[in-house]
């Protein structure tokens, strides 16, 4: 359905109306009285071999989305299919054999490595769980993986704290690669890193993609980095995807007002350009996902808000080939009007 005729590749991951609500309990008998709608109806495909960027503000549900796709949570609704297998409602036990195909690189390289395990043990853990290799074979494989991600093999017996952020992230990547996955969710793999190290990790990811034909879901809030790595980009706001487009068009001509604001907020590392840039500074804070506003989620901060936005939730639809937007500005009638109606 999302399939783009222009793209020859087939979707590896299909996400349909994915919902992930964290229940809020209260009252005398701890009845569920509400929910944090961290992810609230997200639909997209990830094509084989591509990198889908997922961007948005902090707390908009990016990580939750990524984790829900890998079924690290028991999802509230919707369906996820990876390589044809519908995993949305599978039990964790049934999922286990499928785990090798889908892996994750975590947001915080420090927090996602057990401080009391050696690097070798960390990278070996997936092998222990899913393969029947002998100890020697595992050691060899761990060594290879370390080579692949560019870690000195001699560091194998060290603990994570003894590494720099970039090296730690490499350990996380090596762990994710251990089982030859097809699909990797990279949850802000560079957010916690220094600029110069960020580049190292991004390059590594790209190299690996080339080498093994990996598919990435690349979560980030660093728009410049996403622009660099992603083929297509989905923009999230408060649990929903508001815009999805190929990289080029999105940066050149963002459609959704939120995307525009987001892009304009990125600081320009060139003082000459910086002073000429027009900025859309959003006012106010992101509403709580436990209590999203009526109508369009973005209506509280949108510079182009209309009355209809406060009443009716916009539908997420393809407004141009390969470009999906959920905004009343582009609703039903077609692009021409919408752009016209937009200042």
């Amino acid at each position: 359905m999302l399939d783009n005729a222009a793209k020859p590749s087939k979707p590896l991951v299909q996400v349909r109306d994915l919902q992930m609500h964290f229940p809020i309990y209260s009252g005398l008998f701890r009845r569920q009285t509400g929910a944090v709608k961290a992810v609230d109806g997200v639909t997209f495909d990830v094509m084989e071999g591509e990198t889908l960027g997922l961007v948005g503000e902090s707390g908009c549900g990016k990580s939750t989305c990524g984790r829900a796709i890998l079924r690290l949570y028991d999802i509230t609704g919707g369906e996820v299919a990876i390589d044809g297998a519908r995993i949305g409602k599978m039990s964790q036990g049934d999922l286990r054999p499928l785990r090798p195909a889908m892996q994750m690189v975590f947001q915080d390289p420090q927090a996602s490595l057990n401080p009391r395990m050696t690097v070798e043990a960390i990278i070996r853990e997936p092998l222990d769980e899913h393969t029947k290799l002998t100890a020697a074979e595992k050691e060899k494989k761990v060594g290879e993986l370390m080579d692949t991600v560019g870690l000195n093999r001699r560091f194998a017996k060290r603990y994570p704290h003894a590494f720099s952020g970039g090296q730690r992230q490499r350990i996380g990547i090596a762990r994710a690669l251990a089982l030859n996955p097809k699909f990797i969710v990279c949850d802000e793999p560079i957010a916690a890193l220094d600029v110069s190290i960020q580049a190292q990790v991004v390059n590594l990811l790209e190299d690996l993609q080339e080498q093994f034909g990996l598919t990435y879901l690349f979560i980030s809030h660093d728009l410049s980095m996403v622009r660099h790595i992603a083929t297509r980009i989905a923009v999230m706001y408060l649990g929903k995807v508001v815009e999805l487009a190929p990289r080029g068009p999105l940066y050149e001509e963002p459609l959704h007002p939120y995307t525009k604001a987001l892009l304009s907020a990125v600081p320009e590392p060139d003082p000459a350009l910086a002073q000429t840039r027009e900025r859309v500074v959003l006012q106010g804070d992101v509403p709580s996902p436990a209590n999203p506003p009526k109508g369009c989620n973005f209506c509280t901060r949108c510079p182009a808000v209309m009355d209809v936005c406060r009443q009716i939730e916009p539908t997420y639809q393809e407004v141009r080939p390969g470009r999906f937007v959920a905004c009343h500005l582009y609703e039903s009638t077609g692009t021409a009007d919408a752009t016209a109606g937009h200042p």
Binding site: E57, S58, G59, S164, G165, D194, V195, S196, I197, Q198, A199, Q200, V202, N203, E206, H221, D222, L223, S224, M225, R227, H228, R247, Y251, A261, L262, L263, S264, A265, V266, P267, E268, P269, D270, P271, A272, L273, A274, R279, V281, L282, Q283, G284, D285, V286
Partner: protein, 338 residues
């Protein structure tokens, strides 16, 4: 290097740091985190400080106000002249008057820098009562004013809220409000936006610009995000390995970077617009270990233009004209200056 060399001619510095040196004593040796750092800050000026993680930015600034825990920290030398007094020699009770009173400090991590068990109001009012001698109600009124100033809606009610009830961006704004509480002459902001996402970062940058124009204070803004610097700084100091390796007005620096580290830094950042690089440039190698006082150029191992002299001698900061200097033997104009 001569005093005031950092400043555009004719301005007198509000804060003048000369030859600052800070060492941490740790198990198994010492960490020379800040080595012979000198810079000056003019009134109403915004000085950007960039450098990769661990290059000593935070330590430098905290040394100024004696905020480092000692032990392990030990400020070994240098002078910090502020309003005619050397802060490093000041007795603690006088220094306390400077801290929070005339120099405000915004820390790197807004999530942990506020005390979780006191209300925001209390925490803003504290320095007001301490330094300006305001009574409770006056302090409260002022606190409310400050919250409004940093753009927090419903300030009156929010004074009674606890930090955890604020979002990260709001907490950072509260930190700024605290730092601004006593109308400081100088505001030191240590990566105030690194932990935030772009939209909030944009809000804070706008706020800063505003406040600076309104209050006319001098600001030191630490970051490793060159994009931010490009947007707001007047002058930039680039730190590497505990030293200032380059210093220039902002446009000059971006147009004409002289230190190889600065150049490398500028190329690593992917651009939001324009041509998309096929591959990101990386600075190969690892940052230096600061185990000893430097005897050689700290960047030599990663430098693509290193010459043998780099590993024998630590280059001094060569004045390159146009208020621009760089600590590199191979920088343009260093030859004649050296």
């Amino acid at each position: 290097m001569p005093d005031g060399a950092d400043l555009p001619a004719g301005t007198t510095p509000v804060l003048d740091v000369q030859h600052l040196k800070t060492v941490f004593r740790v198990r198994g040796g010492e960490v020379h985190a800040v080595n012979d750092v000198s810079f000056a800050l003019g009134a109403g000026e915004l000085l950007g400080v960039v450098g990769e993680s661990g290059s000593g930015k935070s330590v430098t600034m905290m040394s100024l106000l004696g905020l480092l825990p000692s032990p392990p920290a030990d400020v070994r030398g240098g002078t910090v002249t502020f309003e005619g007094e050397d802060l490093l020699q000041l007795p603690l009770d006088k220094l306390r008057k400077v801290r929070g009173g005339r120099i405000g400090f915004v820390f790197q991590d807004p999530m942990t820098s506020l005390n979780p068990v006191f209300t925001i109001g209390y925490q803003i009012m504290e320095p007001l009562q301490e330094h300006m001698g305001l009574n409770k109600s006056a302090a409260r009124a002022r606190a409310q004013e400050l919250l409004e100033l940093v753009g927090i809606p419903g300030a009156a009610q929010r004074l009674n809220d606890y930090p955890h009830q604020f979002s990260g961006g709001m907490r950072q704004r509260v930190m700024i409000a605290i730092a601004l509480a006593c109308d400081p002459k100088v505001l030191i902001a240590d990566e105030p936006t690194t932990a935030l996402d772009v939209t909030i970062q944009a809000q804070i940058i706008e706020l800063m610009k505003d406040l600076r124009d309104k209050l006319g204070m001098a600001v030191i803004w630490i970051t490793h995000d060159l994009g931010v610097i490009a947007g707001i700084a007047d002058r930039v100091v680039v730190m590497y390995g505990g030293q200032i390796v380059e210093h220039a007005p902002v446009k000059e620096l971006f147009r004409n970077p002289q230190h190889p580290y600065t150049r490398a830094l500028l190329t690593t950042i992917p651009k939001i617009s324009g041509e998309r690089a096929r591959r990101l440039t990386v600075i190969q190698g690892q940052p230096p270990i600061l185990g000893d006082a430097p005897t050689a150029c700290p960047f030599r191992d990663r430098c693509d233009v290193a010459i043998p002299r780099c590993s024998r001698e630590n280059p001094p900061r060569y004045d390159l004209g146009h208020n621009h200097d760089a600590a590199c033997f191979v920088a343009k104009g260093s030859q004649h200056a050296g």
